[in-house]
Amino acid sequence: MPNPMPVVKVLSPIGLEYAFMTISLFAAAGALTAALLSLVNGEFSFAVLSFPTALLVVSVPVFAYLFLRTKRLELTQPHLRLDPSKRRSTQFTQIVCFLVSFFTLVAFVFSVFGKLGGQFHTSIGKTALDCLVLLVVFGGILAYYWRDEHQR
């Protein structure tokens, strides 16, 4: 008799909430990065800040609500921390954040080489600040989930 095989893969209830949270997390992270990059580069104009601000206004409350709700559920029901569809979302988040942080570091080293070789004319200090913004936002998310996955 053949082994039964699942024909429909669905997310668990908390997994679906994590998927929504992941979407709002990336929207908030992108908006925060864009806003901080603009400020670091001395850009405060309406045209530059209006879209990141609109994204922040919607994504931060949605993310905050879902984050606190799922965190509260995990604290009362610890087995939810190991829910497979929840871990799929958090592992996807970690992979994306790792890639962004990794290539940000590559970009910084490349910029230093380019500056030394006279290929680029942008200030290395400004490039370092731009890279720092990306590392703080995406590296911070990676560090949080890394610690969350590895704690007992």
Binding site: V48, L49, T53, R72, F120
Partner: protein
């Protein structure tokens, strides 16, 4: 449980306060931004009509109303300087640049460096209203005679009108395809195919630009790229600027 959530609530509160500060900054600029958008649109409409008038009449009008151009904005002024020159000023309430944080982020991650600034294309003989501007008065002096002497038969041009708003070195302009480029020789050379194959020396301070006038490096010019070569003086074999039109 509340204690365990407190640190997360503090972190989210900080991001929330940052969001509120951003909303305040954006709303405080909204009215001025609307004024500037309206001014820009009006200036563009006036520029189109003014360019049409100067092309048709080969002279500049005494005033905008002389050219049947409505100017409903007090932020835009037109002053005739001579028969071939006029000054066009726009007063904006805010500064606007072509800065795009998304492009900066993408450029940093994909090409490994931040793009260099570009304030927009302007011309000396044709009124173009740049999207980037500073707060306050932004004036341009347009000289129709910069493209060809008026009331004379235009002669074939030895210089290009298009040079990213920078002073033209004055030499010939050739459009060609790169056959090879040697950036490490002294002086650096570029070989192009243009009715045959020719090799030219590159000036020590050669400017390399993309078709959108963004500064580029010589290493970004590749074999097979279409380029516009601008020589340092008439009939010279030394290239002062390379505009790579393949970007």
């Amino acid at each position: 449980m509340q204690q365990a959530l407190t640190k997360y609530k503090i972190g989210l509160l900080v991001i929330g306060l940052f969001t509120v500060a951003m909303v305040v900054v954006v709303l405080a600029q909204a009215s001025a931004a609307k004024h500037d958008t309206d001014t820009y649109k009006t200036a563009n409409t006036i520029a189109d009509k003014l360019n049409g008038y100067t092309l048709d009449h080969e002279t500049v009008p005494r005033s905008l109303s002389d050219a049947n151009i409505d100017n409903p904005s007090t932020a835009i002024t037109y002053t005739k300087l001579t028969d071939t020159q006029y000054k066009f000023c726009i007063t904006y309430k805010t500064t606007s640049t072509n800065f795009d944080p998304g492009m900066l982020e993408g450029s940093l991650l994909l090409s490994g460096h931040t793009p260099e600034g570009f304030d927009g294309y302007t011309s000396q003989d044709y009124l173009v209203v740049p999207t980037a501007h500073k707060k306050g008065s932004n004036c341009q002096t347009i000289n129709l005679a910069a493209s060809f002497p008026l009331n004379e038969t235009p002669t074939p041009q030895t210089t290009s009108d298009f040079y990213c708003g920078q002073p033209h070195p004055g030499g010939n302009t050739d459009d060609a395809t790169v056959t090879s480029i040697s950036a490490n020789t002294n002086p650096a050379t570029i070989t192009v195919s243009l009715a045959g194959t020719s090799t030219y020396q590159l000036a020590s301070d050669v400017k390399v630009l993309t078709v959108s006038c963004t500064p580029a490096s010589l290493s970004e010019v590749l074999t097979g790229d279409s380029v516009r070569l601008i020589f340092d003086k008439p009939n010279s074999k030394t290239v002062a600027a390379v505009i790579d039109t393949s970007f």
